[in-house]
Subunit: 159 residues, 2 copies
DNA sequence: AGGCTACAGTTGACATGTCAATCATCCACT
DNA sequence: AGTGGATGATTGACATGTCAACTGTAGCCT
């Protein structure tokens, strides 16, 4: 990549190189995600959605959480969560319970099976992340990537 | 981020910081993808899959391509492409035609409508990429991101 | 010709996502 | 108490993905 001469000001259109970086970013991040979630699936039968839900619940002291708080915590729409919880409940990973004091609400609770599966899945999952992500980068590259992601996130439109 | 003392050798497990970088990478790349594809959808009614297919076909001299070559070109499984082409064909964006000389095969051809829609969608789409991705990064950050993506891609298991 | 294997593509079943509509309850206000 | 708008969550319709099974044809080999 060539770095444009300074003092030129921001361009209004993209160069070929910039577009190439975008495409590489898009493609590589997707492949990486697929590798990691594919191995999670193979090794423990959990999808990345399952993992996120189980992780959030595991972190709660009571291993349970109000449905909309969970949705907010993991950044999902409530409808998406509702569908997903239905599938997870069918598999016995979580359980929905009524809330004392608000009959509209629902609490999502980790089941014993769910907690167990999550525990078993975690270490291998973290190992895969280490192998495919951390190990692929030098410490400097990792820091630079973090920096770039932070800049991108800061520039994202407000959710 | 703290950079670990050199000469320590590669760790076997992840630090909290490394995991944080992974999560930020995962989350930010997903949000960014959603913003860009969401705007493409809003502005032109094309999904990112549609766009990829139309882009590949547009780049062909004859605006047509063998189905499996297309799948290979954009890195999709044939079954995924087949389903997607069915939907695109229903919308009149592409057309499947028999191949002279191989009655098993199919050629996917861009329709007039498909070509037109793709042309109309391109400039706004590139503008969104510029606004949300390129503009969010300094030239150095962009170069560093490219470098990190290249390292990650090189380290991916063979497709 | 007959038969085997590889190839090209499609199909069906199912998981995952989005969007808009719906349902029930809660709460604030009169 | 009564009602109307917010809130919590689910539902249905549909787009998108994956996987495995299937269909039909091509290309060999004998």
């Amino acid at each position: 990549m060539t770095i444009p001469e300074p003092g030129t000001g921001r361009r209004r259109t993209m160069t070929r190189d910039e577009l190439r970086v975008w495409r590489r970013f898009l493609e590589t991040s997707e492949q990486l995600r697929n590798v990691v979630t594919g191995r999670l699936q193979d090794e423990s039968g959990l999808s990345s959605g399952d993992y996120g839900v189980l992780l959030a619940l595991s972190e709660q002291p009571e291993k349970r959480m109000r449905s909309s708080q969970l949705a907010q915590h993991i950044g999902w729409e409530r409808s998406r969560l509702s569908h997903h919880l239905g599938r997870m409940e069918r598999r016995g990973l979580v359980q929905r319970e009524p809330v004392a004091g608000d009959s509209r609400g629902a609490v999502v609770a980790l089941t014993t099976d769910g907690a167990q599966l999550f525990r078993a899945a975690s270490a291998p999952h973290l190992r895969v992340i280490h192998e495919t992500f951390v190990r692929a980068l030098s410490a400097q590259q990792l820091a630079a990537l973090d920096d770039a992601m932070t800049a991108l996130a800061a520039h994202l439109p407000a959710r």
